[in-house]
Symmetry: C2
Subunit: 521 residues, 2 copies
């Protein structure tokens, strides 16, 4: 199966954009797709004078909407149920409490004040110009996020005696075998009908470089796949190690995970804010000041001819707010339990929208992966068990402690879902680390399990069943229901990424700006 | 031609380790080559009591030698010709003067105090545990160095109308074509003798993932190679772009440069010290204090039965120092003009040792590559002209100004070497940027040309002609000439890397420690 972004999102529950069916190829120039900078919402600074907007939800879509509308003179209020901004953009640090809807509570008890993990989004690809533009505009310090790391490990229960191998081995030995086999076919004349003599000869040259083949086009192994002993001083020469054989590589079926780094929105260079992804929403919130109203839980959304009334509770007390327009930037899942007088079409779209779920299990640990394995960031992959990956921190490298994820994916995957309770999940998570790094399972402390299905005010990670969704409810959310507009990554083709939320907010702000202008003129 | 590290070093003059001939495969375990931490020079703290060592040269080998010998109680003096430590580890900042042996002077005039470039080594791979260990021990702040970046560009004068394409296109479209061709061969029975039915079927599954093939095993293009329009909000769906055809890819011959990132010591994760690589030698020098004697130019090295006498000039005045042992950590090139009474064998080894040359051309510029191309670090590659690469800074991303290299390689390559003067070289360098980034050649300011052949106290970059060298002079430098020991990357199999210099220093320190102990007991 090809590892497109959509496959990936569906299969292992990683964030990824909308993979358009790759059908009719359009004739386009070969120039690089040089992008524009962060989209500018082109409204005059007085566009919103005297216009009140109530924004439901202080996630990225709500924050960006309020920020851009504020620039254009609109009077905004953001109702946010939690005590913090950001929604799924949430950084867990020492003392953070994770409370599930069923009342289960966990509190992170970390030794180091630098320890953290991002429970929701955790990386920003360089193609996400809007979010990078906001980081620049709001002075959010960034550092490189390591998504590609040849020193990370891969393990399959079906090959190599269940022992881990380095990702550089799987990648480069597979390349070597593929190049060797194709060179053999070329040399045996199997492609004489396909390619002219000149191209065949040049293809052989390419394959030698591609696979690091010997002059005879055989592949006995390559330095690229790592060595048994690194070169040193004096008599210490490099000692090669044998390549992984093709049959075992096929048994192991590890290849699918090596393409993760080649999916478009997972390609280097990637970024993370220094110290936690929530520096982004906090930077927005700082700019917004009193526009943000925390601990404000939306209970009713009511339309009227010339406005919107939203009923909410604040510290338990019922309150209401009336505005000219509303931007509903809540997860669709949450709308299912909020009283409203939406149109039948919108009610149906809400009912028809379903969310995937995603979990992360995180541990604080001394950084044995750096000191003993030379692993600095990146992801090790496991096949055959309930835990699919071990993800190492990209920040504060060379410090004593760090937070490592062991398990990030869809909770609904059977191997994981059949684990009876949190204790069993932590045990499986620890066991995955032990498999990759024998002797180090015991170094893991302070486990935290975040599953978005159980997190209040989300109760889901991101849209599921893309085909049904984009063919159905999606279009409904693109248009306002009278004076209520919708925004969020679910109103974009970049689901599960902050970029989609921000672009959706821009679109909504532009629509409101246009409407206000037409009313005024 | 396969792109081994040695090929690479020879071909484009990049730093790289010693590529041992990949011959007899030894039977070794498949476990990852988990390395030890920074090598410890295991000497008691009183080992060197009363023993004087003179160390010639304050590059990495000299600094590491003095630092480790100091820990063991030796009384060291480092004679360094320059006013700074580090040797080839040299960071050029605003105000730095580059003076050639012929008297030519350039002074960097940068607008930003953050602007810099590393004239010598610039990156540390995570497999270089010794140097990373010192960064940790000496508290040198590191950040990720971006060597792998799918957004960088490639251009060949032989294809695509001489227009640049993205590296993600070259890499992923080539993979697609290779996978498609091999799948075709498998499906046509060309590998029926090679692989059993089960493996053939599994290979087809692998190839679909490897090349992002369609279900029919054809390759019309892939999202991995980039898109014409990124997905957005509302109706903005992703727009595909056509793949680069195989024939043109073969014309372009760009593949060789895409394997740069897969050579073992160029693989992610890589590092750089924050703010300049010279933070490493300065951290050593700070620890060494008065052990460092700058502006001390070695003139004579004389052996005696129970010691070594070194004559040097300090601010023009002739001085001398007598010590029990000497570590000569100067470039072999420099020894050719220093009076000495080395053995005939050492004199011959010095005469037989030759250096490659390497240059860098650097410009200060606004960061158009980030704002307009989403290029954050990494290298763009050019074929067909005198300039081989454009290398973007990995530090201070999102700031206004940065230093970009346009041209890094062997000065002796004909296309570059035939440029008549510095002006012509700067013009070619600017033209390379203009080719990749039309309209931006004019943004480049304050050019600096560093070529190690012309830098006093080096007059060369690193050992050339590895085969001759390791078969000849190398072994001579591994043994002391009476009480004079040699150290440097040229005494290691990791030439042109700081790691080789440090490992060589460790080896020399251990040898001296052993000798002193045997003398004392």
């Amino acid at each position: 199966m090809a590892n497109t972004r959509r496959d990936f999102l569906t299969k292992v529950g990683l964030a990824g954009g909308y993979g358009a069916t790759f059908t009719a190829m359009q004739t386009l120039g070969l120039l690089p797709s040089v992008g524009s900078a962060a989209s500018v919402v082109d409204l005059p600074v007085t566009a919103g004078k005297g216009v009140k907007i109530v924004i439901l939800g202080g996630g990225i879509a709500g924050l960006v909407s309020a920020y851009e509308l504020g620039k254009a003179g609109f009077h905004c209020t953001v109702l946010e149920a939690r005590e913090r901004p950001g929604g799924r953009n949430w950084t867990v640090r020492n003392g953070t409490t994770v409370e599930f809807v069923d009342g289960t509570k966990q509190t992170a008890q970390y030794i180091s004040s630098d320890s953290y993990f991002n429970a929701g989004p955790a990386r920003i690809p360089s193609i996400h110009k809007t979010m990078l533009g906001y980081c620049r505009e709001l002075d959010v310090a960034l550092e490189v996020f390591v998504n590609t790391n040849r020193s990370t490990l891969m393990v399959s229960d079906k090959a190599f005696g269940g022992k881990p191998v380095e990702q550089r081995q799987v990648i480069n030995d597979t390349r070597g075998h593929v190049a060797e086999l194709l060179a053999k076919c070329v040399n045996q004349g199997a492609l004489d009908q396909e390619l002219n003599k000149d191209d065949r000869e040049r293809l052989l040259v390419l394959l030698r470089s591609f696979g690091d083949l010997r002059p005879g086009f055989d592949y006995p192994g390559s330095e690229r796949a790592g060595v048994a002993r690194l070169p040193g001083a004096g008599e210490v020469t490099e000692t090669p190690r044998p390549c992984l054989d093709l049959h075992s590589l096929l048994d192991a079926n590890l290849w699918i995970d090596t393409t993760h780094e080649e999916t478009l929105d997972m390609q280097a260079t990637m970024f993370q804010p220094v110290g936690g992804l929530d520096h982004i929403p906090y930077a927005f919130a700082k700019k917004l000041g009193k526009v943000m109203q925390y601990q404000s839980v939306v209970k009713e959304i009511r339309k009227s001819d010339n406005g919107v009334k939203v009923v909410y509770t604040h510290h338990g007390a019922e309150k209401s707010i009336v505005a000219d327009y509303c931007i509903c930037a809540l997860p669709v899942n949450m709308l299912k339990s909020i009283a409203n007088d939406f149109s039948p079409q919108v009610k149906q779209a809400i009912a028809d929208t379903h969310y995937n779920d995603s979990y992360k299990i995180a541990w604080e640990s001394k950084r044995f992966w750096e000191t003993e394995y030379n692993i600095y960031g990146g992801i090790s992959w496991l096949q055959g068990g309930p835990i699919n990956m071990v993800w190492y921190p990209s920040g504060k490298m060379h410090s004593d402690m760090g937070v490592v994820l062991s398990g990030y994916g869809l909770q609904s995957l059977p191997a994981f879902n059949q684990l009876p309770n949190m204790e069993a999940r932590f045990a499986a998570s620890r066991a995955a680390v032990e498999t990759l790094h024998p002797g180090h399972g015991k170094d893991l402390n302070s486990p935290m399990f975040v599953v978005w299905e159980k997190i209040p005010y989300n109760q889901g990670a991101w849209i599921s069943s893309f085909g049904d969704y984009y063919g159905g409810p999606y279009r409904t959310f693109l248009e306002p229901d009278e004076r209520v507009y919708f925004a969020g990554d679910h109103c974009s083709h970049v689901v599960a990424w902050q970029e989609g939320a921000a672009l959706s907010a821009h679109r909504t702000v532009r629509m409101i700006g246009e409407r206000v202008r037409s009313v005024k003129t």
